[in-house]
């Protein structure tokens, strides 16, 4: 049993439901799909762990084109992403068993949800450009069916269209970078591309094509415009997969093409600087726009942009350090980025599942109509709280560990190149700190508005806890978040195989004298963090305080809340999502360009106010300044072409004549 067998078995398990769908009776479809997805996830996890500890396994499958059989390989990088995919697919499969209970159109999901997982699994084990693109497109197209699942609503169709368009634009750019590599290497296999010698110019062309292609798919600012529309409209279990792991597959593609195929030896300094700049801008602007949302799933989608930014800060630092020949620090940056990748998969998957649970029981995505759900949905609230603490980068959970590692990489970076270049490293650290603090603000708002306070609507007041399947699906990633946060010293050596493969340096060797008991990259006198000790200390202290203060149960009297003497307290007097973020909206108005209107109705007298309406709209600048102008330009060009099509026969003859002249001029 090796990692390849397990990975192929995972792929087969993901393929099976879509093949069997027409033969399965409606009543069995959900159970079969969830069971197969769960097995696929578990197999992928097993393959990932085996692949990280064992040497690479490669094989050729008798599929694909006649002259190009399908090459597949499980190497350290692919194995790590198999682990990421599997570790979220399995809990989402359990969750889906409950979430899709009353779904009449289960057949559609039974085809496309497993195919989507198959596409992602295929991308990470592909070993030639052809199968890579094949699985990549399978992932993009099958997820389009998930985005447009509720296609009766016009905005979902529009979101789906933009999603498909951007996915294909990204695909085209990636294809372009493979074309450059193919031209240099002479074959479609990754082995040939890896050994290809590229001139710095062509290497940069391939880098730019890949960076923009994968960046678009990963939702990097400013190409992210499709993401906040597409992720919220898919069913929540699909959103969890899309946000939790599909964006990570784009990160995988980025590392595969740029670190592996182009090679870390060829890095030019400005590549890292560009990635770092893109990461910093994504991290801060992602969270700034997330803060202004009141649609829960849309808010989470913006946070994906932020977290992709954090991953890119790690990768960009690593690329910059690798370009200046500091492989050890580059390995640290790479580990930080990878650790954040798996962390984000866990807590973002959990957050989307939690949002799905809330949607399931209140029927709403709008935070302004929620509140007090902690009393009605205690398990969902507890899991959601774990994810909120994790994503806010607070100890002792996992988000803090990866941000800590990223900070360490930035702080240990020595003087690089010129002054401008050196300044970008602390700048990115500053942006990372700002993004982390803003994320905490945002998740206080999310948890406070959705789960605490008073219910803001009838639906929220009568909400019910979700079923055992959905609870279990949320508890598993919550446990992963805690484990990844408490035991980084166990997981990081596992990840070490990736920098060994890509940078030929092991981080474990560098800390040989220290041991992995405490998280102390490079040296304990430089920096160290011990999550287990911190947690133990806090539990001990908290326990002592509680024990001391609770003699015989303590005296507690229940009373009404303090209402400043006003007996008429209404749930709408609470701060809501829009008012909570009002101070930040005002501070960052220059970036957000929020459109605020206060409309006061005074029908009788100028001093007698009847109604006050306050409306805020925060648009997305990427849509306004990039997508819409590009769309308008395309339409304008098409209109001109259209006019040429409809002109008279003389004009057509003229075109023909001009073409012949041109051809003669070129080919003679």
């Amino acid at each position: 049993m090796n990692s390849m067998t397990l990975a192929l078995a995972a792929c087969a398990a993901a393929l099976l439901p879509s093949v069997l769908m027409p033969l399965t009776p409606q009543s069995l479809r959900r159970a079969l799909m969830c069971m197969m997805l769960f097995s696929s996830g578990v197999l992928a996890m097993a393959a990932g762990v085996l692949g990280l500890v064992q040497p690479d396994v490669a094989t050729t499958l008798p599929l694909g084109l006649p002259w190009l059989p399908m090459h597949v390989r499980v190497d350290a990088l692919g194995a790590f992403f198999l682990l990421v995919i599997g570790s979220l697919t399995a809990p989402v499969a359990i969750y889906s068993q409950g979430y899709l209970r009353h779904e009449p159109r289960i057949g559609v999901l039974m085809i496309f949800l497993p195919l989507f997982v198959l596409g992602m699994l295929g991308v990470v084990i592909a070993d030639d450009a052809f199968s890579f693109m094949l699985f990549w497109e399978l992932m993009s197209v099958s997820s389009w069916f998930l985005v447009t699942f509720e296609h009766t609503r016009a905005e979902n169709r529009k979101a789906g269209f933009i999603y498909l368009l951007m996915a294909h634009l990204a695909g085209l750019l990636i294809l372009g970078s493979f074309a450059v590599l193919y031209a240099a290497g002479g074959a479609f296999t990754f082995a040939a591309m890896r050994s290809a010698e590229l001139s710095p110019l062509w290497a940069s062309v391939a880098f730019l094509l890949a960076a923009f292609g994968f960046g678009t798919k990963a939702g990097v600012m400013p190409m992210h415009g499709w993401l906040p529309d597409a992720h919220p409209v898919a069913p929540s279990n699909a959103s969890a997969l899309m946000s939790g792991i599909m964006l990570k597959v784009a990160v995988f593609g980025f590392i595969r093409v740029i670190w592996d195929l182009l090679g870390s030896g060829d890095f030019q300094w400005w590549w890292g600087a560009l990635v770092l700049a893109a990461g910093s801008s994504s991290a801060v602007s992602g969270v700034l726009f997330a803060l202004q949302q009141h649609n829960l799933k849309r808010l989470l989608a913006y946070h994906s942009i932020e977290n992709i930014g954090i991953i890119l800060i790690g990768l960009g630092l690593a690329m910059l350090l690798a370009a200046f020949a500091h492989p050890l620090l580059a390995a640290l940056g790479l580990i930080a980025a990878l650790y954040h990748t798996i962390n984000h998969a866990q807590f973002k998957g959990l957050l989307f599942m939690g949002a799905g649970a809330v949607l399931h029981s209140t029927g709403s995505r709008d935070m302004e109509s929620m509140g007090a759900l902690i009393h009605r949905m205690p398990v969902t609230a507890a899991c959601f709280l774990v994810a909120c603490i994790s994503i806010s980068a607070l100890p002792p959970f996992n988000g803090f560990v990866s941000e800590w590692l990223t900070f360490q990489t930035a702080l240990m970076a020595p003087q690089l190149g010129g002054a401008m270049l050196t300044a970008i490293v602390p700048f990115s650290a500053a942006m990372l700190a700002l993004a982390g603090a803003l994320a905490a603000t945002c998740f206080v708002k999310v948890f406070g508005v959705v789960f605490l306070g008073h219910a803001r609507s009838e639906a929220a007041a009568n909400a019910h806890e979700v079923d055992a399947w959905m609870k279990l699906g949320m508890i598993i990633p919550a446990i992963f978040c805690a484990l990844l946060g408490l035991l980084p010293v166990v997981f990081i050596p596992l990840l070490d195989a990736v920098p060994v493969a890509l940078l030929h340096i092991s981080l474990a060797d560098a800390v040989h004298g220290q041991g992995w008991l405490w998280l102390a990259p490079i040296d304990a006198s430089h920096a160290s963090y011990s999550a287990p000790l911190a947690l133990a200390g806090m539990l001990l202290l908290g326990g002592l305080a509680w024990w001391w203060l609770h003699p015989a149960g303590g005296r507690i009297r229940k009373g009404p809340m303090w209402s400043c003497g006003n007996p008429h307290v209404h749930a709408r007097m609470q701060y809501n999502a829009t008012s909570f973020s009002q101070p930040l909206r005002r501070i960052f108005q220059g970036v957000l360009q929020a459109d605020e209107h206060v409309h006061t109705e005074r029908p009788v007298h100028a001093l007698l106010t009847r109604h006050v309406r306050h409306a805020v709209h925060v648009g997305d600048p990427a849509v306004k300044w990039l997508y819409q102008p590009l769309g308008a330009l395309t339409l304008k060009l098409a209109r001109h072409l259209h006019q040429a099509h409809q002109s008279s026969i003389h004009a057509w003859l003229g075109w023909t004549f001009a073409t012949i002249l041109l051809l003669l001029a070129v080919f003679t």
Binding site: L411, A430, G448, L541, I556, M561, W562, Y575
Partner: protein, 315 residues
């Protein structure tokens, strides 16, 4: 083992002395304002009174509201216990470096703000919103100003950073001056002091910290208040550690420790007196001038980082 014991004692000292420090500031302020003041021990008396009182809980408070005081208190004490006050090399400080320290304080704030929103009063939400907004600006500024020193010491461990400052000859480094100014501004904001927030107001539309803990009573309130006092002493000690560590004990001998204690109390008194003077002479800022105050701190700290990178790395 001896060092661990000393560190635990030192943490205990920080926790127990925190109300005294708060009382000292209040007394200094009173004297500066020609009042007699309630005395140095008043915060202790207040805490004892609160611990003895029963808890009145709002009818629909969730478990978050009851857990939050313990989380806030333990996270703050945890953070205080890794800050060396007397002894430079403290073994348990390895548990959390300065980034983790900032994060522990952020964890406390996270739960404080959640507790503010739990009851569902307009005051609680307002306090939470403002506190998180200000901290979103203050926390990165604090990290930046600490990073200025970390870069010099090539470390984020407090022990290493302090020994580095003690070992290097005293040269005026402009980056550290920037970091110090930024850090002082942030310390005012993080502890809710004038000119950012007023710790002595109640039921005023400008308050931040007090608005969040408005619903607390009895031992819960005592824990919250005590945590706030510990945080004040923690920030004061951190500033002394990072910028003025002279006089700290490098070994765990009795004489050295006594000398270090004396030095620490003296430095602390000067710093807290400065705070009292500052609180007496300044007026509270308008709410929307606070972000400008904090972004000034952020820019100063960032300038400190840049200056360090551009001018001082070769030193």
């Amino acid at each position: 083992m001896k060092a661990v014991l000393f560190q635990l004692l030192q943490a205990l000292l920080l926790v127990v002395l925190a109300p005294l420090a708060a009382g000292f500031v209040a007394t200094c302020k009173a004297r500066l304002q020609n009042r007699r003041g309630a005395g140095l021990l008043q915060p202790w008396r207040n805490l004892r009174k609160l611990f003895g009182k029963e808890v009145v809980l709002a009818a629909h408070a969730s478990w978050i509201f009851r857990v939050a005081p313990y989380v806030v208190f333990t996270a703050t004490v945890m953070a205080a216990s890794v800050v060396p006050a007397l002894l430079v090399s403290t073994p348990l400080s390895l548990t959390a470096d300065v980034i983790a320290l900032v994060a522990l304080l952020a964890l406390a704030r996270f739960f404080l703000a959640l507790a503010g929103m739990d009851i569902g009063t307009a005051f609680g939400g307002m306090g939470a919103s403002r506190e998180m907004t200000f901290s979103a600006l203050a926390e990165p500024a604090m990290l930046m100003s600490v990073f200025v020193l970390s870069l010099g010491a090539h470390s984020t461990n407090l022990t290493t950073m302090i020994s580095h400052t003690l070992d290097t000859p005293l040269v005026l480094q402009p980056s550290i001056a920037f970091a110090l100014v930024a850090m002082l501004m942030i310390a005012l904001a993080e502890n809710g002091r004038i000119p950012v927030d007023n710790p002595t107001t109640h039921l005023e539309l400008t308050m931040v910290h007090e608005a969040m803990i408005l619903e607390y009573s009895g031992r819960h309130l005592a824990l919250m208040e005590w945590a706030a006092m510990i945080k004040l002493l923690l920030f004061a000690t951190l500033i002394l550690d990072l910028f003025f560590p002279w006089g700290m004990a490098t070994d765990a001998g009795l004489m050295a420790m006594l000398l270090a204690l004396l030095c620490w109390l003296l430095k602390l008194a000067v710093l807290l007196l400065l705070l009292a003077v500052c609180e007496t002479s300044l007026a509270k800022l308008r709410l929307f001038e606070v972000p400008e105050f904090l972004s000034t701190a952020f820019v100063l700290a960032f300038l400190g980082l840049l200056i360090h990178y551009m001018l001082e790395v070769s030193l």
